[in-house]
Each structure stands twice: as structure tokens, then as C-alpha cells.
């Protein structure tokens, strides 16, 4: 069965340089797909193309298709604003808005038309609960989001992404700037969230990929070298370079 979220012969160019080469990948619902590979292998570029973040880079062009719920997201009639509502994204560096904790979460839903105060309160609470942050911040919702620790800020960013009820969550090394305790919190959170979402995560941490993902895709020089069940890839990779990379001998 084909997933509702997949890429088909996707290539991404920066000018003439082909950063991502002809990649077809499926992202099954309610599962975590990890993208691994050495720096510069195109995995972040690939991830950014999934919610059209590369639109911001003027020389970036795309060939091939990205399908989300039967829609080619690069088709000219696509409403990017509606599209991005369906796809949450969290980056390596926590980037809360320079606003209160409450406003960080309520901002998106408010913009998308929810004006009712009690409804907003509910969204803020449920998003923060889903991101396992509610108990730590419920008494200081009016304070600046920048007063939180790095790990809390990152969970706030996850809560913010969840506030508009996306079906897909894109994570670009979400734990690589965090301490071990915060990292394990974020990992638990990802495992929890996949019950509702399809998650794609870029990570440099092999143990993390092994711990939290169901499927793993290994990228090298813009090419998809190997893709399959995480367990298989980590125990019995087909490709020799995959073997070398995950065992840490290269990369």
C-alpha cells in the first residue's frame, strides 16, 4: 500500500548543483522515519523541501513530486499557507518567538481563525501537555518564552508546531543542541507523538535513530543509499557504506 505522504523521484537543485538526487521515499502514517547520513549528504535539504521551506532560497529548484494526501504540494495551485498548517517543523536550535509562553502556542491558532479565548486556552494547555511541558510552565504562561531553558524551549517549539494540529511533523536534529536529560525527554515525546502523526527526523545520533525510528533512510552525497526497517538497517545493512557509517567507521 502506498502512503499518503511520499516523494517520487524528488531532486532538489541549488542553481546547477544537485543536492538531492532522484529520491523516492514513503513515510507511513503513525511511524517515525529517520534520515541519517554524513553532513552535506542532502538530508536536511530533503527535509526542508517537504514543507516547501526551500521556497525561501531563490536559487533552489525542484524536480519530481511530493505527495501529501493525494496532492502534489509543488503544483501551482497549492496554497502554501494551508499546506504548512498540515506540517509542523522543529529545528536544531530552539526558536521560540520573542513572546510569552502562552502567545507562542496561541499565535498560530489565532492567526488561523480561532478567536474564542477559552478555546485558545484549551489549545495551549493540550499542546503543552502533548509536549510534556505543561507542568513546568503552567504557572508562568505570561512570562517570556526566552526565560525557559534550552530543553524547555525546544519542547515549547514542538508544542507550537502541534498547536495547529498538523498530520506530519518534520524534525531537523531536534535534540542535538540539548543536554542528555532534555534529549531523552524529547525522544520519549517523539515516540509518544507518533501515535497521531507521521514523523520525519534528521539525526546525527545513530543510537537515537535506532531508539526512536521505525524506518531509516541512509543518505550519501545526495543519493538514497538504503531504506528500510530500522532494525534491519542497523543489524543487517545491505550496503557496505551504510554498514561503515552506522558503525562509526566513516562519516
Amino acid at each position: 500500500m502506498e502512503s499518503t505522504f511520499r516523494t517520487e523521484n524528488l531532486s532538489v537543485f541549488y542553481g546547477k548543483y544537485e543536492a538531492v538526487k532522484n529520491i523516492s521515499l514513503d513515510f507511513p502514517d503513525q511511524s517515525v522515519t529517520a534520515l541519517i547520513g554524513p553532513s552535506g549528504c542532502g538530508k536536511s535539504t530533503f527535509l526542508r523541501s517537504l514543507n516547501r521551506m526551500n521556497d525561501e532560497i531563490s536559487q533552489a529548484t525542484i524536480k519530481g513530486k511530493i505527495w501529501i494526501e493525494g496532492q502534489d504540494i509543488n503544483a501551482p495551485d497549492t496554497d502554501v499557507i494551508k499546506l504548512r498548517q498540515k506540517i509542523g517543523m522543529v529545528w536544531q536550535k530552539p526558536n521560540p518567538f520573542y513572546k510569552s509562553i502562552y502567545e507562542n502556542i496561541a499565535f498560530g491558532p489565532k492567526y488561523h481563525g480561532i478567536k474564542n479565548k477559552s478555546m485558545l486556552d484549551e489549545i495551549v494547555e493540550s499542546s503543552l501537555r502533548k509536549a510534556a511541558l505543561w507542568d513546568e510552565v503552567k504557572d508562568r504562561l505570561k512570562q517570556s518564552a526566552l526565560s525557559l531553558s534550552g530543553g524547555q524551549q525546544q519542547r515549547l517549539c514542538i508544542a507550537r508546531a502541534l498547536s495547529v494540529n498538523p498530520g506530519i511533523l518534520l524534525l531537523d536534529e531536534p535534540a542535538s543542541a540539548l543536554d542528555p536529560v532534555s534529549t531523552s525527554k524529547v525522544e520519549e515525546l517523539i515516540i509518544e507523538l507518533k501515535r497521531e502523526l507521521s514523523i520525519v527526523i534528521v539525526t546525527h545520533n545513530m543510537q537515537q535513530a535506532a531508539r526512536i525510528s521505525d524506518y531509516t533512510a541512509y543518505f550519501y552525497l545526495g543519493t538514497l543509499m538504503e531504506h528500510g526497517d530500522t532494525e534491519l538497517i542497523f543489524t543487517n545493512p545491505v550496503n557496505a557504506t551504510t554498514q561503515e557509517y552506522i558503525s562509526g567507521r566513516f562519516g
Partner: protein, 298 residues
């Protein structure tokens, strides 16, 4: 020479230079204030100038300076913010943006007397606005626009790009991101730019001689109809500002106490600039805190 010795010498030189600058500033301020403040009192601040008698004040000029500032900012801030935001967020790099940037920088380096004459020919005569606050405000806009455009552009560019990406990923429109995500973060820098621009409004004399004029009609402070010729808030009346007044009485003042009046007016001008600085910074902080829920000062 050992690296440590070189380091010591360099540090000493830098400290001496810094102290020198502070000393010049303090000396200048002290000189102006000591010379001028003894002459400043309530009636000096509120009464009208005298042509040949002693005891004239600077009331209308003080009011004119403040009113001209307000008028100028009303024109400059929307234009400057708009152009700055365009340059930072919309303009694609290329010949056109390079040309805009060049024009903006050339504008800011024009000699003010030349711009004043240009204002006289075009705004005062051709457009027929006459010697008026409005003409003066337009000419000051020519000076201030470049500064505000550049500072706005830089303020928006220096907001971390992750902020913008976060907004995009939430499905916000570009305009919403600019107004609600980037602008609050950019406020402190924009306020600094506005303060710098305002300093120029208070201090400019040459360009105003030919545009706002060197005289003030007898003002009736109970008349608040902006179209009445004697109303203080009529933007189309001539208005001598404090800086122009200082220049005028210093060069052609006939009153026996002209020197004291010039000194007093200078002290008032300096204090005015200081007060405005502090006020603008305070206002910027309040705005920043309100929009970002932050306790820190920008």
C-alpha cells in the same frame, strides 16, 4: 617587544582615547550648560523674543522645534519603515536594489545648505507651500529618510532567520510574520535610529532657513484650529526653530542681551535633545516589553 608589553601599550592608548572623547563631551556640555543655564527661567522659556529690547524669550521657537519634530516623524517613520521593510524582506538582490541603496546613501550625504536651497526652489516656490513647518518637515525628511531606511533594513535583517522560518512553518503569511514576529524584535534598533534622526531635526539650521523660515507669526496659544494663521498647530505657517533662532541672534541679534539669549537657548536645546533621547528609549523599551513579554531591555 614581548606580546604582553604590546598588549599593555595598546590597551593604554585605547583607554586614553576613550577618556579623551568623554572629556571633550563632558567639557562641551559643561561649557554650554554653565554659560546658558543661569539665563534660563520660566519666563525665558515661555515669552516671545524681543527685537531691540532686553529680556526676550524663546517660547515660540521651543514650541516650533518640538512641533517640527512631530511633523517630520509623522512623514518620515511610515515612509522609512516601508522602504526599509521592502529592502530587507521583499527586494530581490540585483541592480534595482543596489540603485535604491546608492540613492539612499547619496541622499544622506548631501550638504544641508544645498538641500535647503532645493527645498526653497521646489517645495516653497514651485509647489507653493511657502515658508512653512510643512516645507521644513519635507526637507528634514530628505535627510532623515536614508537613516531610517537603512536602520530599519538592518534591524529586520538582524532578526535571526530561524524566527522567520518558525513563522513560515506555522503557515503564517509573510506580512503577518513581518508585523507580528520580526517587527517586535526589531523595535529597539528602530527606536535608536529614530532618536538619531530626531537629533538632526533639533539641530538642523541651514536647511530650515530657506524652508521653515526665519520668523514666527504672533501665535495665539488659545487657538487650536490648525487652519488659522495664528494657530500654533497650523503646519502651513512659517516657523523659526530653536537652532535657527540661535544662529539668527548670534549673527544679527540687536537686543542688548543677545549673547545671553543665544547661550540660554543653546543650553535649552541640548537639554531638549537629552530629554527626547531618554524618552524615546523608555518608550521603545515599553513597546518592546509589551510586544515580546520580555523583562530584559533590548
Amino acid at each position: 617587544m614581548k606580546a604582553k608589553t604590546i598588549d599593555k601599550i595598546a590597551t593604554t592608548i585605547i583607554v586614553v582615547f576613550s577618556l579623551l572623547i568623554v572629556a571633550v563631551l563632558v567639557g562641551l556640555l559643561a561649557f554650554i550648560l554653565v554659560r546658558g543655564l543661569s539665563h534660563v527661567n520660566w519666563s525665558f522659556l515661555t515669552s516671545v523674543p524681543q527685537t531691540i529690547k532686553a529680556g526676550g524669550g524663546i517660547g515660540p521657537q521651543l514650541f516650533n522645534s518640538l512641533f517640527l519634530l512631530v511633523l517630520t516623524l509623522i512623514i518620515t517613520i511610515p515612509l522609512g519603515l516601508g522602504a526599509g521593510i521592502y529592502m530587507a524582506e521583499y527586494a530581490k538582490p540585483g541592480r534595482f536594489t543596489d540603485a535604491v541603496r546608492l540613492v539612499v546613501e547619496v541622499l544622506s550625504s548631501f550638504p544641508s545648505i544645498v538641500v535647503g536651497l532645493f527645498g526653497l526652489l521646489l517645495i516653497v516656490n514651485t509647489f507653493g507651500f511657502g515658508f512653512s513647518l510643512f516645507s521644513g518637515a519635507l526637507v528634514l525628511t530628505i535627510f532623515n529618510l536614508p537613516l531610517i531606511v537603512r536602520i530599519t533594513e538592518q534591524a529586520f535583517r538582524s532578526v535571526p532567520k530561524e524566527q522567520k522560518e518558525a513563522g513560515l512553518a506555522l503557515g503564517l503569511s509573510k506580512w503577518k510574520i513581518i508585523t507580528s514576529v520580526l517587527f517586535p524584535v526589531a523595535i529597539p534598533s528602530i527606536v535608536t535610529g529614530t532618536v538619531l534622526a530626531s537629533g538632526r531635526v533639533f539641530g538642523e539650521a541651514a536647511a530650515l532657513l530657506f524652508t521653515a523660515g526665519m520668523s514666527t507669526p504672533r501665535l495665539d496659544f488659545s487657538d487650536w484650529n490648525p487652519l488659522s494663521p495664528t494657530s500654533p498647530i497650523n503646519p502651513f505657517r512659517p516657523a523659526e526653530t530653536l537652532a535657527v533662532h540661535i544662529w539668527k541672534i548670534n549673527s544679527e541679534g540687536l537686543a542688548p542681551d543677545a549673547a545671553e539669549i543665544a547661550a540660554g537657548a543653546s543650553a535649552v536645546l541640548v537639554i531638549l535633545v537629552l530629554i527626547f533621547n531618554l524618552f524615546a528609549r523608555w518608550f521603545g523599551n515599553v513597546l518592546y516589553k509589551a510586544l515580546t513579554a520580555s523583562k530584559r531591555t533590548g
